[in-house]
Symmetry: C2
Subunit: 211 residues, 2 copies
DNA sequence: TAGATTGTTAATCGATTAACAATC
DNA sequence: TAGATTGTTAATCGATTAACAATC
């Protein structure tokens, strides 16, 4: 069903479609046309039809799209239905917030371990997950076989642990460290989250917005 | 100096340039060519020259760009040099992490107030800033005149407070709530941060990465 | 059937990359 | 001056939007 070479632009719109469609489903909406969805999302109807068609014809002429079906289809395209095991590295403020705030299951992940190097906090629980010593990372990964790592540690510490994690079989990095991971390893994906970049962009836009 | 109609693509690259150039400056680098910067950042040299030229000729033929000067120029273009007062709404896990983790000054902001509706936590300090009752928001904003709001509250609560904040003169929203703010008010800018979207994108890419 | 709306091709628009004259 | 590298125009590429035949 899924074609190859889906552009990054399309992929990045999928979660937003998913969010909107789930919202509509919760409010009991059964069908929606591309025109109506476009109006609600502030997009162009052609774009929505193009996007949905990358993965096959989910609509029906003269009717539109079934909201429930689209939710299920997008969830499947994104792969939310088969959760990836994830480890979190760094249990400082950000690490804690991310682990407590994020609904990992909803996004296709399961948080299986939290690691830090700070002796004082090892053993503490964050939700249902204990903080483990970073020294036990190798052992843990060999047993649990996670394929994803969430990096919530300082930039200086990040680069070392990345190589270690790749050697342990990690295929995806969700990187909050203040540092761009550039990975050349085949089959390894990095999603850099630079909150400071987002905030700087806002700074620019506040000044230059159309008054 | 700054031309009008700078594209969003260019603006969003500026913070990353800034990060890289500051890094080079810290390591004592004085000059860099577009070619060398491109190599380090994984970009195209033409793109870098085009981007920098949106704002004026900062380079010198035969020499390249002065690292220090580019840092200062980009900081000025982004407006990092004149901080905006910001209030944070919602002092849960995410709000706490954001307020403690972010270097606001570095990104052109100054966090002047934190607000929550939960009686039990009002009066607590987060860093040097006390948590205030959301009931005192009007009064506080009229006195302090912040122009930015950081939203770290549930989607259901977000939509109400947005209207209130716009009425109080807020011009920029940094929105972490699980909900797209669509603002039609002229001169109001919203930067939506949807961490769950980012995580879902990673989920897709782990599955579909080139092995 | 008639009306509505998709799927899909074609046209437009904008962003990226290449090329090279200008110039330090 | 000669070499290097920018600033800038032109070419390419990709993404968005428009149009419309297919069809439910």
């Amino acid at each position: 069903m899924a074609k190859y070479n889906i552009s990054d632009s399309v992929i990045r719109r999928l979660p937003r479609y998913y969010r909107f469609l789930c919202g509509l489903r919760e409010r009991g909406m059964v069908r929606i046309s591309s025109g109506e969805l476009a109006r609600r999302m502030g997009l162009n109807a052609s774009q929505i039809r193009q996007d949905f068609n990358c993965f096959g014809g989910f609509g029906q002429q003269g009717y539109g799209y079934n909201v429930e079906e689209m939710c299920l289809q997008i969830a499947e395209i994104l792969g939310l239905d088969k959760p990836h095991k994830a480890v979190l590295i760094g249990a400082g403020n950000l690490g804690r917030a991310v682990s407590q705030q994020m609904n990992f299951e909803r996004a296709g992940f399961s948080l299986v371990g939290i690691f830090d190097k700070k002796e004082a906090i090892i053993g503490q629980m964050i939700g249902k997950t204990p903080i483990r010593s970073i020294d036990t990372l190798d052992e843990f990964c060999r047993a649990e076989q996670p394929d994803t790592a969430i990096l919530c540690l300082p930039a200086t510490a990040a680069s070392d642990v990345v190589e270690q994690l790749i050697a342990l079989g990690i295929k995806g990095f969700w990187n909050f460290s203040h540092y761009d991971i550039a990975v050349e390893h085949k089959g390894v994906t990095v999603e850099n989250v630079h909150l400071v970049d987002s905030l700087m962009t806002l700074c620019y836009k506040i000044e230059h917005s159309v008054k």
